[in-house]
């Protein structure tokens, strides 16, 4: 009898706490959303499974019984604490990105920047309700709709917020088609939504090669703390546009991106232990997160309307909503809302300009937070 009792004590069952079981349920919800609803499955599936792994008592996954890092703990330590994974994701994103719409219409860079006003507004709201400046910056960056940047900033400034902010960012990115249209419609008139835009000019190969080189130098000089993300983003883009390293470009877009995504998802999931996640702050972060998305959408649209006051050739203000960097979902939403007003209005490629500019804008905003708050 004593032997059976001793054997039972070596299992995880006696050490299981109610908080861990609640976290299992949260993990199951994410797995359900990923598998059944296909909400951001590439991230929510490994994050959901990572949550299960992080909440198994006595399992030496994060830390072993001797206090050393466990298997998943090493993924987290070397991948996120050493800041390797988010820049590698940006390398792949760069290789997937076509800057043609931005080069053809550089005005759209302003729209990508304008949507970041939502980041700063959310930052101040979070500060006002009692979060620290570092925590507020990570909550604010959710408005940028950029998962890797959110994770990168959290690892730098508020690692305890990483799990909840990453899940909020990815969940809301999956809900862009639901969150953005009401804001876009509320801020525009039917006449504005009907505006058609002139075709984008063709962009030459030389322009596409010079863009990542010049952009990298300028951005990294202006905001040095954004350089790990931006330098890799532009390197990936140069792989793509140079046309001479197709193997590297394909590897960055496919194999490397897929491998790194596995480690990213699992590492983020394992930050979500019951003690770190089950706090009232989670509810506040999720409420602030949806406000952040709406604010970024609104500031992008309003800025586009302000630009129209000065432009001879008007732009459709809906494309301002694509300044949040959920690529290409936000651009697709703009296109669909535009076609509801006029089915022959094709805004997709016009919206890609602010959309990719938004990726740059969010990384720059993160760099600015780091430069001010990390020291």
């Amino acid at each position: 009898m004593e032997l059976i009792k001793d054997a039972l004590l070596t299992t995880g069952f006696p050490a299981l706490e109610i908080g861990q079981v609640i976290m299992w349920l949260i993990g199951f919800v994410l797995l359900y959303l990923a598998i059944k609803k296909e909400f951001e499955p590439l991230l929510l599936l490994p994050i959901g499974f990572g949550i299960l792994m992080a909440n198994l008592p006595l399992a030496p996954l994060m830390v072993t019984s001797t206090g050393e890092l466990g298997l998943i703990g090493r993924f987290y330590h070397y991948g996120l604490e050493w800041e390797i994974i988010p820049p590698l994701i940006f390398l792949g994103l760069g290789a997937m990105t076509d800057f043609g719409p931005v080069i053809a219409n550089p005005k759209t860079l302003l729209l990508g920047a304008a949507a970041q006003i939502g980041v700063y507004l959310t930052f101040f709201i979070a500060l006002a309700i009692g979060f620290t400046a570092r925590e507020s910056s990570v909550i604010g960056i959710i408005a940028g709709a950029d998962g890797p940047t959110t994770i990168y900033l959290a690892a730098k400034l508020a690692p305890h917020m990483m799990g909840m902010c990453a899940v909020a960012a990815y969940s809301y990115m999956a809900m862009v088609p639901l969150i953005q249209p009401p804001v876009m419609k509320a801020l525009t008139t039917k006449e504005e939504r009907l505006i058609t835009m002139k075709s984008l000019r063709p962009v030459g190969k030389v322009e596409k090669i010079f863009f990542p080189i010049i952009a990298m130098i300028l951005i990294c000089l202006c905001v040095p703390d954004a350089s790990p993300l931006m330098a890799m983003f532009m390197l990936g883009n140069l792989f793509r546009e140079s046309g001479v390293v197709a193997r590297l470009s394909n590897a960055a877009q496919n194999e490397l991106m897929n491998i790194v995504t596995i480690f990213l998802g699992v590492s983020v999931g394992t930050t979500m232990s019951a003690s770190a996640f089950l706090t009232f702050d989670v509810i506040k972060v999720f409420v602030l997160g949806v406000c952040a998305f709406m604010l970024a959408t609104a500031t992008g649209v309003i800025f586009a309307k302000i630009m129209n006051l000065f432009l001879k050739e008007k732009i459709n203000p809906l494309i301002g909503a694509a300044g949040v960097s959920a690529v290409p979902m936000a651009a697709r939403v703009v296109h669909k809302v535009g076609q509801e007003a006029n089915k022959r209005n094709y805004l997709l490629m016009h919206a890609m300009g602010p959309n990719v500019a938004g990726v740059i804008g969010t990384a720059v905003a993160a760099g600015m937070f780091i430069s001010v708050l990390a020291r």
Binding site: S199, L200, P328, K343, R344, Y346, L348, M349
Partner: protein
């Protein structure tokens, strides 16, 4: 004679009309895949499809003539 031009760059995903078919303005005549999204292309003219100038799977630039309507 009216040329139906492609309003956005992408890949021809589906051709919804045949040569000789009678079509009306605003009928859906092609599906173009751009940014992993199937975009319906609407006819800008009424008449008979005289010629279809692209094939399924073909990459098309903005302004490419997709079909001729008489």
């Amino acid at each position: 004679m009216a040329n139906i031009e492609c309003p956005l760059a992408g890949k021809v995903f589906e051709i919804l009309v045949e040569v000789g078919q009678q079509i009306n303005e605003d009928d859906e005549i092609f599906l173009i895949d751009a940014m992993k999204m199937e975009n319906p292309i609407y006819s800008t003219a009424s008449g008979t499809v005289k010629e279809i100038k692209v094939k399924v799977g073909e990459q098309v630039a903005e302004g490419t003539i997709l079909a001729v309507v008489e």
